[in-house]
Point group: C2
Chain length 314, copies 2
Amino acid sequence: MRRTVISPLAITTLAALVLSPVALAQKPPLVSQADIIKQSVPSDWRRLDPENTLVMEINGQQVILELAPRFAPQHAANIRTLAREGYYTGSAIVRVQDNYVTQWADPADEEKEKDKDKVKPLGTALANLPAEFSIPFKGLPLTRFTDPDGWAPVSGFVDGMPVAANPAKNQAWLAHCYGMVGAARSGKPDSSNGTSLYAINGQAPRALDLNITVVGRVVKGMDVLSSLPRGPGAMGFYDKPEHYVPITRARVLADIPAAEQPAIEIMRTDTATWRKLVEASRHAIGGWAVRSALHSNICNRTVPTRPIASPAAS
Amino acid sequence: MRRTVISPLAITTLAALVLSPVALAQKPPLVSQADIIKQSVPSDWRRLDPENTLVMEINGQQVILELAPRFAPQHAANIRTLAREGYYTGSAIVRVQDNYVTQWADPADEEKEKDKDKVKPLGTALANLPAEFSIPFKGLPLTRFTDPDGWAPVSGFVDGMPVAANPAKNQAWLAHCYGMVGAARSGKPDSSNGTSLYAINGQAPRALDLNITVVGRVVKGMDVLSSLPRGPGAMGFYDKPEHYVPITRARVLADIPAAEQPAIEIMRTDTATWRKLVEASRHAIGGWAVRSALHSNICNRTVPTRPIASPAAS
């Protein structure tokens, strides 16, 4: 007998039997997340933003990173420049710390005894950027989650990304959830410039929020980054150059010929369909689960993607 | 320049500068988590329980699972029997779903067209067990976390494991955090028997809580389980037998010769030192981080382990 643990998407009307009167008063949706996705309309989906998407190739597989120019405009611009001028092509994964981060950089810049001649030139990219830890909350088109987040007074999604906020301080920031990408820095808060980036590969380390600039989210290929061997060095660094996993190519989506572009689209997070999906995730629907959590957390909700027939058409 | 993302343990007095008056009134500790661990005393640590620890070998590496007999006594006993009678030795990882679970089972029991002669016999282990989803909260020696959990009214640690509870229902349960291990089941809640187990390899899927029996925690070797290739099949199942990753050996710790026993000990979670560590994790200490989260979550706190000089001595 195949025993399993149900897929998160499948956990979502037998469960109505175990709901409390309070929950029943909330009229739980009787439609599963999978069915909500099936019933979605074309306007529930969007294409990747050509100027704000980085397509990397690692171990022969694509890793697609969507930048967040609303939250980190200067980092997004610098990363775009670095990608266009070939900085990332030939850089490598230099660190994989279990249940924390997968990080990439110019390996020559990582060596303790570094040969300055081998360090990649920045080209027209800037060496110094301001810290972009938060933006004003006021006016932000946040699709809000109603359950308490614990780490922040307010949470939800903006532009397909998990966001936490403190309205009293008029402050909003990208949350360190699984798959989110940040710009590594040294001790100085404004020492990141996008040359070294990291993706969260485990439980959301939300204590990092507001301590470092988050630049976007891996929308495809996080499995590639999370299944790499953990580094044996301190903090998960690969301690031998032969362990480095090369980034064989990195391009801005806009620069990729239409026929080669990744044929995926992403669910919008400013729609009634997304709100229904989030609500459905609070309830056990479908028969496997016997208890509804009646809770949803921004870091437990992955924005759906799906293949599209013709990536070039829009 | 080596830019990085600080290790979680290192994030913990410069931060006092940004604390609110309320936080300052709480007298934040000025000692980092690393220093609290250094200053710990022998009684802050414990050995692995020989009768409740399973030592597996996968890809030549050890994966150590501590069972939770207080929470799932019948599953713990059945798993012990299965291990002692050789059930797990020769079983395999059959599923790795990214940001969800790594699952192992008897591969022959997974085949759609299965040859009953090849399915491993259960021996003296029981085929049917009750669901062990929760235990009474009253009297539980919970080292409580004071920050809101979101998923449950009360949370904390018991016996080194993350626990959520609802005192109003006199109910407590093991929380699905990273590295926690559960017993896979089919549609029937009481269909698990320990023959197929899974470990959480990503963001805590807390919606599974109270829906399945949790049997323990991986205390060493989670990096082995989390870095395996993701399965290409539905729900991350390996769809070709040649993808299965064999469990070459699985033994109960008590049955392993003293000289071969893993030389690690674990921090107790019923001590003042553990409580200090949890409190320290709420604060930015050490200079890298500029902002204290002033929040801690059971799924973000990993119980420290350390090598011991002589595993057999006690």
